[in-house]
Symmetry: C2
Subunit: 368 residues, 2 copies
């Protein structure tokens, strides 16, 4: 398997803006070109677009807007996990030898049709993601004694981290009390327990080992990849575990020949506060049932190890851009370029992303 | 680069049916399982769905319906060329070593939103594909003296071939006169010069060399891959050449270490009669400007070398399924299983597919 590196990346400012999907995609591609040394249009072999938008042929369109005539160009969609799927697809185009340079651009509008899965009729009118997140929360509380206050610390930490992320949609700081008093949406979740859909985009340039040094002096290598789809519907037995993330992380650690205790920094899919807790447990970063205390400790010690850019709760969640923005953040951290939000000495990073009630997951391990 | 083979394939009956996209996809997956020896759900590492449908998360949905829990699952869209893009993506997942077995399923409904590109505003109200095809036709007539009668032979040949294709949507036989007297749509094109959108699906199983013999005694190897995106808009200087197909074919012949005169059988994207002519010239199968006579000769000698299943004109054109049905047909031919439409002794086959006024193309070379 040929080695593949991240050689360039950018994230645009997330917002509530009513911006055309083509403009969102183009902004990210343009910034990436401006920020990547020696990159010219003719270098690009592959253009992948990650989005849930209904517009068609967006990869050739963004190629034309950017002056690129790639070999390969297509859209990739798998709801919230579209961006990380696109990164893995680009990895495979390069690793197989079909390409040397791939531009992966993700974008979403605030009104994306990918926010609710119109499939699982068993959920009746309770199709919005807040309902499965609420069930996860109730189960975790019952089994492990997780408290509303601990959940609020996830939100407080990620909003605080987002203050040092210039791309974040909502970089307000909230007290634990403010979060616990925010509008109640279900029995178990309040408004500030939730990430918010928004308009935004991100881009990553993946390159083969052969050409990496042309574009960057500090390549970030993709060392581990794990992916798992357990189902499309919300049909789980144990509401306190995310099987797809467990499976994907086992694959990723094995491929990277590493273990959870070696991870210096991670971006995980905190669509809701409970998700960050369950994911940290299911990645093996903290023991099952102990994430509540772990997160309170992180908050109190001002650790930025988990979701240094503010995660989805702090940064906003433009679905198709999210996985790409996560990879861009970890690459920034491993290149020691994260300024005020830098995790000191980070060498090994992890990205976890997932879709639709955690029915599919991707885990990536990156190394500088 | 690890070798990759087609180990199973199927095409459902194309129709005008108002069938749910999930049902179309499932029908193809189910048939593929029934027709492929030793294939079980747990063998599948990757499920890729090719469609222009607006429904989301279809790859996990079709996985769940089929009882599969793959690692990788996502949708791929690039308009008419979605199916062949999906085949190449699956190839790269396997060739890179990330997977051994990939199920690629394509489907489209008759009312697909991928039929007209809502982007190129320079075309004003003339956005329907029939208009660019009409411009191609006029240019070819002017430059090479191509006649309406020669164009009618493409349609007559492909409709005749489709009579032996049990999956074909419209397997009526037409005389040259009937075609030339069919309803005039533009100055240059009549109804029977055009392929028709329809509902249909197809599936292909791609496998690594390591596991190929478990699933088939007659693997068909993907020897050459070429892809090119020239633009998204209809912005070409020479209306008699398809640059994206020329570029893609040069890549594919080079990778397969072969040449156009070695090709025994080909499926090409005859969305309109003029397309088959231009593609045969741009693939180097016939000299530029000579396709008209070549096609009349094929008709008169009853050669099935080009579009043996009837192509898009004879079989119908369910966008996301088309590229996959083309690969299924060439695999069937190279396995000598094509019954009444068999090209005798075919060992080396070619698939050409393209999107949106031929602004992007894929060329594959397959060998038994």
């Amino acid at each position: 398997m040929n080695a593949v590196a991240v050689a360039g990346h950018c994230t645009t400012k997330f917002s509530a803006g009513d911006i055309k999907i083509e403009s969102l995609l183009f902004s990210a591609a343009k910034s990436l070109f401006e920020q990547t040394q020696n990159l010219t249009q003719k270098d690009i072999d592959v253009v992948l677009v990650s989005t849930n938008d209904n517009k068609k042929y967006l990869a050739p369109i963004i190629s034309e807007m950017s002056g690129i005539s790639p070999k390969i160009s297509h859209n990739i969609e798998s709801m919230c996990n579209s961006g990380t799927n696109s990164i893995v697809s680009a990895f495979s185009y390069i690793s197989s030898g079909l390409a040397d340079v791939a531009l992966v651009v993700g974008a979403e509008r605030f009104d994306s049709p990918g926010q609710v899965l119109e499939w699982d009729l068993s959920r009746g009118e309770f199709r919005h993601p807040v309902f499965w997140a609420s069930m996860f929360t109730k189960a975790h509380k019952r089994k492990f004694g997780t408290t509303e206050e601990q959940l609020a610390y996830v939100s407080a930490k990620n909003h605080r981290n987002a203050q040092d992320n210039p791309s974040a949609y909502d970089s307000k700081k909230y007290t634990i009390e403010e979060i616990m008093n925010s509008k109640k949406l279900t029995d178990d979740l309040r408004l500030l327990d939730c990430s918010r859909p928004c308009s935004g985009s991100a881009a990553v340039l993946l390159v083969s080992e052969k050409v990496a040094r042309k574009f960057t002096d500090s390549p970030v290598w993709i060392r581990g990849i794990g992916q798992k789809t357990t189902s499309a519907s919300f049909t789980r037995n144990d509401l306190t575990r995310i099987e797809s993330t467990i499976d994907a992380s086992v694959q990723a650690y094995s491929m990277a020949k590493t273990a959870p205790d070696k991870i210096d920094v991670a971006e995980v899919h905190d669509a809701f506060t409970i998700c960050e807790m369950m994911i940290l447990e299911d990645l093996g970063i903290v023991q099952k049932g102990h994430a509540g205390k772990y997160i309170v400790d992180m908050y109190n010690t001002e650790s930025r190890k988990i979701n240094p850019r503010g995660g989805l709760i702090g940064s906003g969640h433009p679905l198709g851009a999210t996985g790409i923005a996560q990879v861009a953040e970890i690459a920034t951290q491993l290149q020691a370029n994260a300024a005020g939000r830098q995790v000191e000495g980070a060498k090994l990073g992890l990205v976890q992303n997932m879709s639709a009630a955690a029915t599919s997951s991707t885990v990536l391990i990156l190394e500088s």
